[in-house]
C-alpha cells in the first residue's frame, strides 16, 4: 500500500516500517483508550458519529495525498472546501436527485480548481505552493462573495441521509469513504497510478522512462480537486449550513493527516489509506481529549504533540530498518 507493488510490505519488517501500519495501530490504541473513557463508545451509533465527523477531513486528506505524492503542495483545499460548502448551502436542491446534482456540482467545482492548478504547475512550470496559495485565496474570496457570513442551509436530504446509518449499523458516510478507497485501489493499478509515484520520486528519470510527466501531474491535481469537492459535499452534510471559512480550519489538519499516514513530503512514497486513517486518528484524538475533560484550550496542544511523536516514531522505525538492511 505504501510504496510500489509487492515491495517492503511483503516482509514483516516491511510491515513495521510501513507508515500505514503505524497509523492503524495508533488508531486502534486510541480507540481502546476512548472506549475506556466513554461508556457507550463501542456502540454502532458512537462509531457512526466518529465516522461522520472524520469523513470530510479524511476525503480532503485523500485528495491532498495525490499532490504530496508528486512532491508538491496543495493549499487550495481550504478554498475549495469553503466554496463548495457555501454553494451547497445557498443553492440547496431537494431530494435524492438534487443530492446527485449537488455532488456532481461539488466535484466539478473541485476538479475545475484542480485543473487550473494542474495547468499552471504542470504546463506552466510554476511552483505548486505558490500557485495553490493564489488559488486558495481566489476561491476563498469567491466563497465570501457567494455567502459573506455563516448561514444558508444545506438540503435536508443530504444532511439527513448522509449522517445516518444504513440498517442502523453502517454509516452512510463510511460507504462514501470506502468508495474513495476502492477508487484509489483501482487507480493504483493503472499506468497513471504507477506514473504518479515515479514522477514524485524522480521527474527526470520518469520522463526518460517514457512517462508523460506533465499529463501525470495535471491529472493528479484534477483528482485532488475532485476529492476536495467531494469532501466539501460531505462537510456540508455534516454541518448542514454554510460557512465561508469552513475550509480554513481544516487546512493544516489535512497536511497533518497526510504526514501521520506515512506519506513523505519528498514525494514518491506513501498512500491514500494512510492519509484517511490519519485523519480519523486526529479526529478521534480530539474526541478522546474532549472526553477526558481536557480543556478545549489544550486540545490543540495535544494534537500538536501527537503529530510530532508520530512522525518521530516513523522516522525511528525507518532508520532502524535501514540500518538492519545495510548490515544484512
Amino acid at each position: 500500500m505504501s510504496t510500489a507493488i509487492g515491495t517492503r510490505s511483503s516482509s514483516a519488517r516491511g510491515l513495521l516500517t510501513n507508515g500505514l501500519t503505524t497509523v492503524v495501530i495508533l488508531y486502534v490504541v486510541l480507540y481502546v483508550v476512548y472506549s475506556r473513557m466513554e461508556a457507550g463508545a463501542l456502540t454502532a451509533s458512537a462509531f457512526g458519529d466518529l465516522v461522520n465527523n472524520s469523513i470530510p477531513l479524511a476525503i480532503a486528506a485523500a485528495g491532498a495525498t495525490f499532490v504530496i505524492l508528486l512532491g508538491g503542495f496543495d493549499l487550495s483545499v481550504a478554498g475549495v472546501l469553503s466554496l463548495v460548502n457555501v454553494v451547497l448551502a445557498t443553492h440547496p436542491m431537494d431530494g435524492a436527485g438534487g443530492a446527485l446534482m449537488s455532488v456532481v456540482i461539488a466535484i466539478s467545482i473541485g476538479a475545475a480548481v484542480g485543473l487550473c492548478n494542474g495547468i499552471f504547475v504542470a504546463y506552466g512550470g510554476l511552483q505548486s505552493i505558490a500557485v495553490t496559495l493564489a488559488m486558495m485565496i481566489l476561491t476563498r474570496g469567491l466563497a465570501l462573495v457567494v455567502l459573506d457570513a455563516p448561514g444558508g442551509s444545506v438540503s435536508d436530504w443530504i444532511s439527513d441521509t448522509l449522517t445516518n446509518s444504513l440498517w442502523g449499523v453502517v454509516p452512510a458516510s463510511g460507504l462514501v469513504a470506502l468508495a474513495v478507497a476502492a477508487l484509489w485501489a483501482i487507480f493504483r493499478r493503472t499506468n497513471t497510478g504507477v506514473a504518479l509515484y515515479a514522477v514524485g520520486k524522480d521527474q527526470t528519470a520518469a520522463a526518460l522512462s517514457g512517462i508523460n510527466v506533465k499529463r501525470t501531474k495535471c491529472i493528479a491535481f484534477v483528482l485532488a480537486g475532485a476529492l476536495y469537492g467531494l469532501a466539501g459535499f460531505m462537510l456540508s452534510a455534516q454541518t448542514a449550513s454554510g460557512d465561508p471559512n469552513a475550509g480554513s480550519t481544516l487546512l493544516l489538519l489535512v497536511f497533518a493527516s497526510v504526514a501521520l499516514g506515512g506519506t513523505a513530503f519528498t514525494g514518491g512514497q506513501g498512500g491514500l489509506y494512510g492519509s484517511m486513517i490519519g485523519a480519523a486518528t486526529l479526529m478521534l484524538l480530539q474526541k478522546v481529549l474532549f472526553s477526558s475533560g481536557v480543556q478545549s484550550f489544550y486540545i490543540g496542544l495535544f494534537q500538536g504533540f501527537v503529530m510530532v511523536v508520530a512522525v518521530i516514531f516513523v522516522n525511528v522505525i525507518t532508520y532502524v530498518a535501514r540500518r538492519n538492511r545495510e548490515h544484512a
Binding site: 510554476l126 511552483q127 505558490a130 496559495l133 493564489a134 485565496i137 497536511f255 497533518a256 503529530m307
Partner: protein, 346 residues
C-alpha cells in the same frame, strides 16, 4: 581507412559551449524579478491615484510603509527559513506570544521594560524557534510538520493561559516606536529602513548569509564543505521566531493591546511576499530586496482594495488574482520575454 569529413578548417570557431553561456544569463534573472516587483509597486501606486487622488502622496507613502512594517519584519524571518529549504508555519502563534507577553508582562512605563523585559520576551520567542530547529535537524521532522505542530502547541498554551482574552496595554517604548514621529517622519518608517538595510546586508554580504544560500542549494554539499548545518538551521529558525515575536510587539504598540488571532493574517502573506519577491520555495535562491518589494506590493494591494469599498469577498479575490499574476510574471519564460522586448527597444 581514414575517412575524414572535417567540416571546419579551424576547430571551435563560431561555436560557443552551449551549456556554459547560459550561466551568465540566468543569474541576472533574480535581479530582473526583484526590479520587476518594484516596478509593479510603482505602477500600482500610480494607478491607485485614479481611484483616490490622495494615493501616492508623501503622507500616503508613510502610511504604506508603516502598515507594511509588520509584514516586512515577519517576511525576513520567513524568507530565511525558506532560503535554507524550510518553512516556518509557527509565525502566527509566535506573533501572538510576543504580543501577549509584551502587553501583559512588560511594564508600561518603567524603563526596565525597554532594557531587559523586551529582550527577555524576544529570547522566549526565539526559544520556540530553537525547538523548531532542533526538531528539524535532530529529529528529522519535516519543517512543515514541525513548525505547524509547534505553532498549534504554542497557540494552545496562549489560549489556556490567557483564557481567551489577553490583557494589558502597550508599553511606552512600543507605542512610541509605532506612533511617534521624528524629524517629520514616523519613527517606525526610520526603523524599517534601518532594519531593511541591516537585513539585506546580513543575507547577502555576510558569511552567515552565504552559508544559508549554500545550505538551501544543497545541504549535503554544504555539510561536506564543512558547514555546521545543524547549528545554522537552529539559528535560522530562532531568528525567524524572534522576528515574529518582535512583529507581535510592534502590533501591540500599534493597536495598544493584543488579541489572540492577531498573527493569523501574516502567515500566508509572508509566504506570498517571499515568493513574489523572487525566492524559490525550494531554497537557495532569492534576495530580501525582492521580498521587501513583495511585502510592500501586498500592502498596497490591500490598501487599494479596501479603499475601493468592496465587500471582503471581492477584496480577497482580487488580492488572490494579483498574487497569481505576480507569480506568473516570475516565470522564467515571462522574464525572458520581457528582457527580449527591452532589448529590442534598444
Amino acid at each position: 581507412m581514414l575517412n575524414l569529413r572535417d567540416e571546419s578548417a579551424t576547430a571551435g570557431t563560431g561555436f560557443v559551449r552551449g551549456e556554459d553561456k547560459r550561466g551568465a544569463v540566468r543569474l541576472q534573472r533574480e535581479t530582473v524579478s526583484a526590479i520587476g516587483v518594484y516596478l509593479v509597486c510603482i505602477l500600482a501606486l500610480f494607478l491607485s491615484k485614479f481611484i483616490n487622488p490622495e494615493f501616492g502622496s508623501f503622507h500616503q507613502l508613510q502610511t504604506i510603509l508603516t502598515l507594511a512594517s509588520f509584514l516586512i519584519v515577519v517576511s525576513y524571518g520567513q524568507g530565511l527559513t525558506v532560503l535554507i529549504g524550510g518553512l516556518d508555519l509557527s509565525i502566527p502563534s509566535v506573533i501572538t506570544v510576543g504580543g501577549v507577553l509584551a502587553a501583559a508582562w512588560v511594564s508600561t512605563l518603567s524603563p526596565a521594560g525597554f532594557w531587559w523585559q523586551i529582550p527577555a520576551v524576544l529570547i522566549v520567542c526565539s526559544l520556540i524557534g530553537v525547538v523548531n530547529g532542533l526538531g528539524v535537524t535532530l529529529l528529522r521532522i519535516p519543517p512543515f510538520i514541525m513548525t505547524l505542530a509547534s505553532g498549534i502547541i504554542v497557540y494552545s498554551i496562549c489560549l489556556g493561559a490567557t483564557g481567551g482574552t489577553p490583557s494589558g496595554a502597550a508599553p511606552n517604548s512600543l507605542s512610541t516606536l509605532m506612533a511617534g514621529r521624528i524629524g517629520g517622519v514616523p519613527i517606525v518608517n526610520v526603523f524599517v529602513v534601518i532594519f531593511c538595510a541591516i537585513a539585506i546586508f546580513m543575507q547577502s554580504r555576510t558569511s552567515f548569509g552565504q552559508r544559508l544560500y549554500a545550505m538551501g542549494s544543497n545541504a549535503t554539499a554544504a555539510k561536506i564543505a564543512g558547514m555546521r548545518i545543524n547549528a545554522i538551521t537552529v539559528c535560522t529558525y530562532a531568528l525567524s521566531s524572534a522576528l515574529a515575536g518582535f512583529a507581535g510587539m510592534m502590533l501591540v504598540g500599534y493597536s495598544n493591546g493584543a488579541t489572540l488571532r492577531m498573527g493569523d493574517s501574516y502567515l500566508l502573506p509572508s509566504i506570498a511576499a517571499v515568493v513574489i519577491g523572487g525566492s524559490s520555495i525550494l531554497g537557495g535562491r532569492g534576495t530580501f530586496v525582492g521580498t521587501i518589494g513583495g511585502a510592500i506590493l501586498l500592502t498596497i494591494f490591500d490598501m487599494v482594495i479596501t479603499s475601493l469599498g468592496l465587500a471582503q469577498g471581492w477584496r480577497t479575490m482580487i488580492s488572490g488574482g494579483l498574487i497569481l499574476a505576480a507569480i506568473l510574471l516570475q516565470h522564467e519564460g515571462a522574464l525572458d520575454w520581457i528582457r527580449s522586448v527591452g532589448r529590442r527597444r534598444n
